[in-house]
């Protein structure tokens, strides 16, 4: 790492370098614009070696980071959205689904898997923002609920990684009731004394924040993540003023008492394993 940093500092024009480098070899940080090896960026859990900016990543990357040897068994991998309302806006909902499936290679906005984390069993549900903004419809609610069922059945910890714009409008009332369903399952986790960790990543807003994301035994986040109930644009419109700097960042939410801690992604696995080890029976 130090070798690379020295080298990187000697580079005056990252864009030029990018042009010279073979495709995919270099990663330019979207925050500080510094350039680093793609491999090193990946080995650093997709966070910047220079400014610690946390790149937005999806379920596959989180599973690879958290499960031992990157190995896991996926649950309900074939579950897909129905169209119970026959919802049509400028486009029919099933069309949106098909387009998004093709673009993202995903079946819906959440994936659930179980495996080992430092040798201990854990179930993880992780949202994918790339699927209609990580919006919560019936599939998201049901897969999370079943993931929690798996944790209940095996009496092993459950980790939820949220990343969502909120509810999926195209499932209207059904979407709303997923907030109820997931919260009901958490009540059962409480009863069964199964640990539930909620990791809120950039961004976590709307109905997701107002249900399972805020209901962890541990509510945690990554640096700089946007976390809120209402989106910043709506709040700005409501109050008719600019929002203070840092409003709704993970640091802001922690300062106001709603996050237990913020953890760098590269330390996430070790910290969670250690924490869960302390509370295990």
């Amino acid at each position: 790492m130090s070798w690379f940093q020295r080298k990187a500092k000697g580079i005056n024009t990252p864009t030029e370098l990018k042009r010279e480098a073979p495709d995919g070899l270099w990663h330019q940080c979207s925050e500080c614009k510094q350039v680093m090896h793609t491999r090193e960026h990946k080995n650093n859990a997709y966070t910047c070696l220079h400014c610690n900016y946390h790149d937005k990543i999806g379920s596959e990357a989180y599973f690879k980071i958290l499960f031992d040897e990157g190995e896991y068994q996926e649950l309900d991998s074939e579950m897909r959205s129905a169209d119970p309302l026959e919802f049509v806006d400028t486009k029919a909902y099933p069309e949106r689904i098909v387009t998004t499936e093709k673009k993202s290679g995903l079946k819906d906005a959440v994936r659930t898997a179980h495996g080992n984390m430092h040798g201990k069993k854990i179930t993880i549900s992780c949202m994918d923002f790339g699927f209609i903004g990580g919006s919560m419809g019936s599939v998201v609610g049901e897969k999370i609920a079943r993931g929690m069922d798996h944790a209940l059945k095996t009496k092993t910890p459950f980790l939820m990684i949220s990343k969502s714009g909120g509810a999926r409008m195209m499932e209207a009332g059904y979407s709303l009731m997923q907030m109820a369903k997931t919260s009901a399952k958490i009540a059962q986790l409480d009863e069964a004394k199964v640990p539930y960790i909620s990791l809120m990543t950039d961004p976590t807003t709307g109905g997701v924040t107002a249900s399972f994301a805020m209901l962890g035994d541990f509510n945690i986040s990554e640096p700089g993540a946007l976390i809120g109930f209402a989106g910043p644009r709506i709040i700005k419109e409501t109050i008719g003023k600019d929002l203070p700097k840092g409003f709704q960042t993970a640091e802001f939410v922690q300062d106001h008492g709603f996050l237990d801690f913020i953890v760098d992604r590269k330390d996430l696995k070790d910290k969670l394993a250690s924490l869960l080890n302390m509370i295990k029976k």
Partner: protein, 317 residues
């Protein structure tokens, strides 16, 4: 002074005509009884036609009718006595949610409702029925108190949404709603929730977890308002009628999907035309539901409540 929605106007015009006719007849001492009968029949016909074929958007308009009964109106109509209890014992008292012990035909209940205001000043005071986190936390405090004294909980839902304000975020709007949803799942006493007007999204669900979730005939309940849905999906405010249709947000729709348990009928033309009758129907429904639910063991009620919400959703496997 009555407020008239566009589709109420033709009926109101005929009603005014009828009044004029009666007045003229009595002043001039002429017999117009057959004309009065005809006109009365036409009014009834028109009313029937208008209100049996309401569009979803018209239902939304009725749910927001400025003359519609609000939570405190129902509380006043249903309860012989009501002791309002303020505050979340933490930050403050939220006037957008009211609550307290009430007495309905001898049955003590904890009633909690979202409250809108009728005149400009009161509307602002009630924050247009948009609760802050303190409101949800007050509601939860009262529900736990009801649980302690083994008293059923009744919630009246009527909100355009939880308040999207700066302080609301600072004080954890999302956490407050989430906690209520979870804790209401395991309340040991019977819980009955009634959408009396607007049931907008998480702001409604924050007091909306019950053994029975009912909707008044002209209320709506969904994940977003038609206007906001229109703005996001059509990128314009103008598609609110299409949005209302797409969202399928009426009592009939929601009951059809099994997302609510029942519909409470309103007087023809809407609850605002006959407070007494609307209040009486609500009161009878609440009492009969409490009677049924009281027969169950608390643990059975909780299991059934959780199972009900866990079964909601449609997926393809």
């Amino acid at each position: 002074m009555r407020t008239l929605l566009e589709f109420e106007k033709p009926i109101a015009e005929l009603e005014a005509k009828l009044e004029d006719m009666k007045k003229l007849a009595s002043e001039n001492n002429v017999d117009v009884s057959s004309a009065v009968r005809n006109l009365t029949n036409s009014i009834e016909e028109l009313r029937k036609e208008t209100f049996t074929n309401l569009t979803r958007w018209q239902r939304v308009q009725l749910s927001r009718h400025p003359d519609r009964p609000y939570s405190l109106d129902y509380i006043q109509m249903m309860c012989e006595e009501f002791h309002e209890i303020h505050g979340d014992r933490n930050v403050g008292d939220d006037p957008a949610i009211v609550g307290g012990f009430g007495n309905i035909d001898g049955q003590t209940v904890m009633i909690i409702g979202q409250q809108k205001g009728r005149k400009t000043k009161e509307r602002q005071y009630r924050n247009f029925g948009m609760p802050n986190p303190e409101g949800y936390r007050k509601a939860l405090r009262l529900m736990h108190m009801a649980e302690k004294f083994d008293i059923p909980v009744v919630t009246l839902i009527d909100t355009p949404g939880a308040f999207p304000g700066l302080e609301a975020e600072e004080r954890g709007q999302g956490e407050a709603i989430a906690r209520n949803i979870k804790e209401m799942m395991t309340l040991k006493v019977p819980v009955i929730c009634v959408v009396i007007g607007e049931g907008a999204s998480g702001g409604a669900l924050g007091i909306g977890i019950g053994d029975r979730v009912l909707m008044m005939e002209n209320s709506w309940y969904s994940v977003i308002s038609p206007e906001n849905c229109s703005t996001i999906l059509w990128r314009s405010w103008d598609f609110k009628e299409q949005a209302a249709d797409a969202l399928k947000l009426t009592a009939e729709d929601m009951k059809g999907f099994g997302l609510v348990d029942g519909i409470i009928p309103e007087p023809r033309g809407g609850a605002h035309l006959d407070f007494e009758k609307a209040g009486e129907t609500l009161k009878k429904t609440i009492l009969s539901e409490i009677k049924t639910l009281a027969k169950q063991k608390p643990s059975d009620r909780i299991d059934a409540r959780i199972d009900k919400f866990c079964s909601m959703g449609v997926v393809v496997e």
